[in-house]
């Protein structure tokens, strides 16, 4: 099971890196989605995959009686999903806005913040 999940994580990371290397913002955005899901699966796998009892402590006890599944990775993944979802929403709005205003989603052509053709600073007055 771990081997299969690791292979899937690797596949996701590969796809994410490939898309992030693109010049176009929309493909980079999809790359970020893949990256977020790759990390979520990674957290899930590092939390150990096992088919054991659900992590519910019986009434009156303070520790579970037998081995239980690890509940923490789910909490971590849920947090990471919420964060990556909100960032995706923000980046989507940003990319759309940039495309409308600047007229391109090619990062090589977005040179407004760092215009080319800047001479040397003045050397004397």
């Amino acid at each position: 099971m771990e081997v299969a999940l690791s292979a899937l994580v690797a596949l996701f990371f590969g796809a994410a890196v490939y898309l992030l290397l693109s010049k176009h913002i929309i493909r980079m955005l999809l790359g970020m989605v893949f990256l977020g899901n790759a990390v979520n699966l990674l957290i899930f796998t590092t939390g150990r995959v096992a088919s054991v009892a659900p992590p519910v402590i019986p009434e009156g006890a303070t520790v579970p009686p037998d081995a239980v599944a690890n509940p923490l990775p789910q909490a971590l993944i849920l947090t990471a999903i919420v964060i990556s979802f909100s960032f995706f929403a923000f980046l989507l709005v940003l990319a759309y806005r940039a495309y409308q205003d600047i007229g391109t989603d090619d990062t090589d052509k977005m040179r407004l913040a760092e215009p080319e053709e800047r001479g040397l600073p003045p050397l004397g007055y």
Binding site: L20, L35, F87, E114
Partner: protein
Amino acid sequence: MATPAPSAAVDAMLSTPVPAADMLIVMPLVLSFLFGSVLLMVRKRVEWHGWISVPGFALVFAADVALLFKVATGGPFTMMMGSWRAPFGIAFTLDLMGALFLATAGFVALAAAIFAVVSVDRQEKRYGFFPFLFLMMGGVSGAFVTGDIFNLYVWFEVLLIGSFGLLVLGSRHAQLDGTTKYAFLNLVGTTLFLIAVAYLYGVFGTLNMADIARQAADRTENGAVATIAMLFLVAFAMKAAAFPLNAWLPASYHTPRFVVSALFAGLLTKVGVYALIRVLVMLFPAQHAGMAGIVAWIAGLTMMTGALGALAQTDIRRLLNYVVIAGIGTVFAGLAIPQAVGAAPGALASGLSGAIFYALHSIVVMTALYLAAGVIARRTGASTLETVGGLWRESPLLSALCLVFLLAVSGLPPFSGFWPKVMLVRAAFAAELPWLAAAILVSGLILTIASARVFAFAFWRPLPQAGGTDTEKSGDFNASVPEHPAPLLPLVALAAFVLAAGVWPEWLSRLTTAAADGVVNPTAYIQSVFGGGA
């Protein structure tokens, strides 16, 4: 995974009620989020925003100072969120290093808020300038107080979303461009951080920093741990804009309003530095010793990139972007000193002390320089070296303040940049890294030339005739805002810190030395979480 048995000391700590002073630890966060939300609810009453925000930041700063006082006198302390048992749940642990960063952050945030009241226009206040500022400061404060590594990731994301909002506010085209690059690269950086956290959880089975520090001492020769430490180094170096992962900073930091640039340049990169010190030195001391050579190269190259980049820029803010990077390199130099585990704290602690001192100085000075650039841009209507001038005659006070900041950032006495550089150079020689000491001094020399050029052009020479070669319109961003003396007030306060830390450095260096000792030898930190002699 073996579950650690709940220890009696932890139970004893949880059963006692919390002392009132301990409650302060959540106050910077609670206040930031409450004030931010209230401002969002009254977003249409723009004229109230300043009256709510400045007292809000003053309260946060007061809480930060009280926390610094408490930690400096009583040592690190911990509060478990929701009364969970120590290795589980989220711990908020504040030690001296965190408290120093927290107080400095509160200081510059207050200064920037006062500056923003008059320099940000109504439209942008209405779109939520101050709520975003509070959100970002909540994230920054959270990063400094948390004792849980996943929680640190969450605070990074909180401050990141606040910073996105501030960066894009106004939506000029250059801003959209800068924000796109900033957003993607920072998001990749924090995702790398999360990947490292995932592996760390897989290897250690815990996320509590004190618990990791306790376990890491037993795992000196371990390839998996070295990989994790390396991933953390890459992630935090990216957040801190260290060479070769620094390209996003000069692409974005000069695009928003001056006050936003000021806070970003002062604070956000330093949060990355703080996290790097915390994780690399405190959690993985053995791996840090092995990686110190790499850190030394990063430090040297970052300093040179920053200094040479500053020399090549015409626009004042783009010049300052590179000065930020040079400062990051200088801080990294303090982290580059190898020390075997168990050896007496020597060169590493003194180098780290210099690094913390320099980081605090850099927070204040970089914020001040960008704010000063904002004042210059408003007075002269431009911020490129080709078109500014004549400020010495027009405003002696502003000129004197800028001279202080420029000398401080170059590392000249008697200002705050000098002493940490002395500490770092001495530590570099003690660690037998003379080339690193030379790099610190050479980059300081180049920065002196770059700042002298700014001063000579902007202040000494008479104002050039209009109709120059300036084609970039970012300079006159603030020109439409009417003249107001209030922006000079925060500059005077920041200059007072620069002077105080430069003329009487002992009080600060004593604190940073104690802070560095607390990181190199985290026994007190671990005890504050687990109680007793755990």
